[in-house]
């Protein structure tokens, strides 16, 4: 069964690529925006070293920003769940922070955090922490009242309640936000590179776009897609392995 699904998945991707090649060749001229997939794959092969270097740099930025954002989001969500006052005071500020598009303060990020990997990490962090905060908070608060009362009646401490009941209950929601967050982290790292850098997938996108090197543009887009899908896949595997209970609890 699993083998058949896999075969179907591979088949679907292959069919899409064939369709892409046919459409690009059939409809596009030399000035078309969509190059045939063969031209894109040739570019990938010819520039694999540059691409690999870009993937590694963007991956580093994404993972660091994601880790920081996930940790902060979890702590903030947990703190808000414990203290409603804190939630009332600080959550609105976090909401406001998310309404400002990050591209609007690119110059500020550079002025504050410089040109190194830190500024990209900060943008990835900025996009990641909010969904994790909200889902952690909602998850921790959604525990059935009766279960809490039951455990209290057996003399469970707040600490014990958190680790044994609230957290396991919240974990599926938290995992869902991490899956969302890792994609946002990648977007953050890519956008962060637009504010001055020479290595990374984000800057390669800008270079290709500016020079209208369309096969390159698509080979970088493909690399971004593979990177994003890979990160998502790893987290989804972690979820299946460690948070297998879903919302059934």
């Amino acid at each position: 069964m699993a083998g058949r699904v896999l075969a179907l998945q591979v088949g679907t991707i292959a069919a899409c690529l064939v369709l892409w090649e046919a459409l690009a060749r059939g409809l596009g001229g030399p000035t078309a925006v969509m190059p045939p997939v063969s031209a894109v794959l040739l570019d990938v092969a010819a520039n694999h070293q540059v691409l690999l270097r870009g993937v590694l740099r963007t991956l580093t930025e994404t993972v660091l920003g994601f880790a920081a954002g996930a940790a902060f989001g979890f702590l903030a969500g947990a703190a808000f769940a414990e203290s409603r006052l804190l939630e009332r005071l600080l959550l609105p500020l976090l909401v406001v922070s998310q309404t400002v598009p990050v591209i609007a303060f690119g110059a500020l990020v550079v002025i504050w955090f410089g040109n190194g990997i830190l500024s990209k990490m900060v943008i990835a962090f900025y996009l990641t922490f909010f969904p994790v905060t909200v889902n952690t908070l909602r998850g921790l608060l959604s525990v059935d009242r009766q279960r809490i009362d039951l455990m209290r009646s057996f003399g469970a401490s707040p600490w014990c309640l958190f680790w044994r009941l609230r957290l396991p209950f919240a974990l599926p929601a938290i995992m869902a936000s991490l899956l969302l967050g890792v994609s946002l982290s990648l977007v953050g790292a890519i956008v962060g590179e637009w504010f001055g850098d020479t290595v990374g997938l984000g800057i390669m996108l800008v270079q290709a776009m500016y020079a209208e090197n369309l096969p390159r543009l698509w080979s970088v887009v493909m690399a971004c897609g593979v990177l994003g899908a890979g990160l998502y896949g790893i987290l989804a595997a972690v979820e299946r392995r460690f948070v297998w209970w879903g919302r059934e609890l």
Binding site: T31, G54, I103, V110, N115, F195, V206, Q207, M209, E212
Partner: protein, 332 residues
Amino acid sequence: MRFTALVTAALVAGAASLAGTASAAEAVSVRLKWVAQAQFAGFYVAKEKGFYAAEGLDVTVNPGGPNLNGETLVASGADQFALAGGIENLLASRGKGLPIVGIAMMLQRTPSAYVAFNDSGIRSPKDFKGKKVSTFFTGAHNTLYAVLSKFDVGAADVTVVPQAVSMAPFIDRQIDVATVMLFNELNVLKTRGVKDFTVFRAEDYGVSFPSDTVIVNEKLIAERPQTVQAFLNGSMRGWKYAAEHQEEAVDIVLKAASGLDRAHQLAMLAEYSKLMVADLGTEKGIGVLDMTKLGAVRQSLVDRKVLDAGVQVGSALAPRFWDAVPTQYKKP
């Protein structure tokens, strides 16, 4: 005896290395107006060939990008120097009170031009009237309006739309006239095999807007003028070398930004050098501040009422640093 000589030698070596640490290179950064490419070859060359080190500087070249403004970053002190926009951008920033000063001008001629397909019936900028024209609103629009005014075409007679990074809207004929940088988009059109279009160069209509100003914060000029001089000496030397050794210069740029296309970068540097080594740039040297031309640009902006008449070219530019750059570093 030999022992004494050895000890002396060791002491001298030690003292020399100490002196070396004491006069360690001063760290400064320069912000480019766009991502790393041959348009900025001179700075990369100066760093790679040790021209900055020879002046006692350790220069970091920071690439620009969308939404990054060299004028703002130099005014805030995040970068000491920048290769900023045209003279019109510098004057506009001065008008807003930013404490930045121009010390050199890389392009002696207007880098922008306009393209229209031959079958569109557009034979001169006069025919832009009633057409859809796209341009960059980062400075090039001022050049466009100046060209149009030469033909008595008002800003209201033309539909001016902001131009995206891509030439696709022009190729797909969604717009009638597009703006091109002679060293970039024009080459892009050629490499993409677009044919049968006419190029209208702003320069041909007497609109000469020098561009790519090297800017610095007023504060740095007041506090460390020798640093400003050192940076300009190294940069001009780097630019002269880049213009005279274009293949090598492009390879140096590619080392910093490996994702670029070599042929495109070579074409860019060739075209960029033509705009740089031109007019007073040929006569006096690369990067010269052509005060007559710059004054004329200011006047045209004031006449069009887009610049406050109080903004003067004299206070926006400090030619004394360029004047002090050794001739062999700048004269082509």
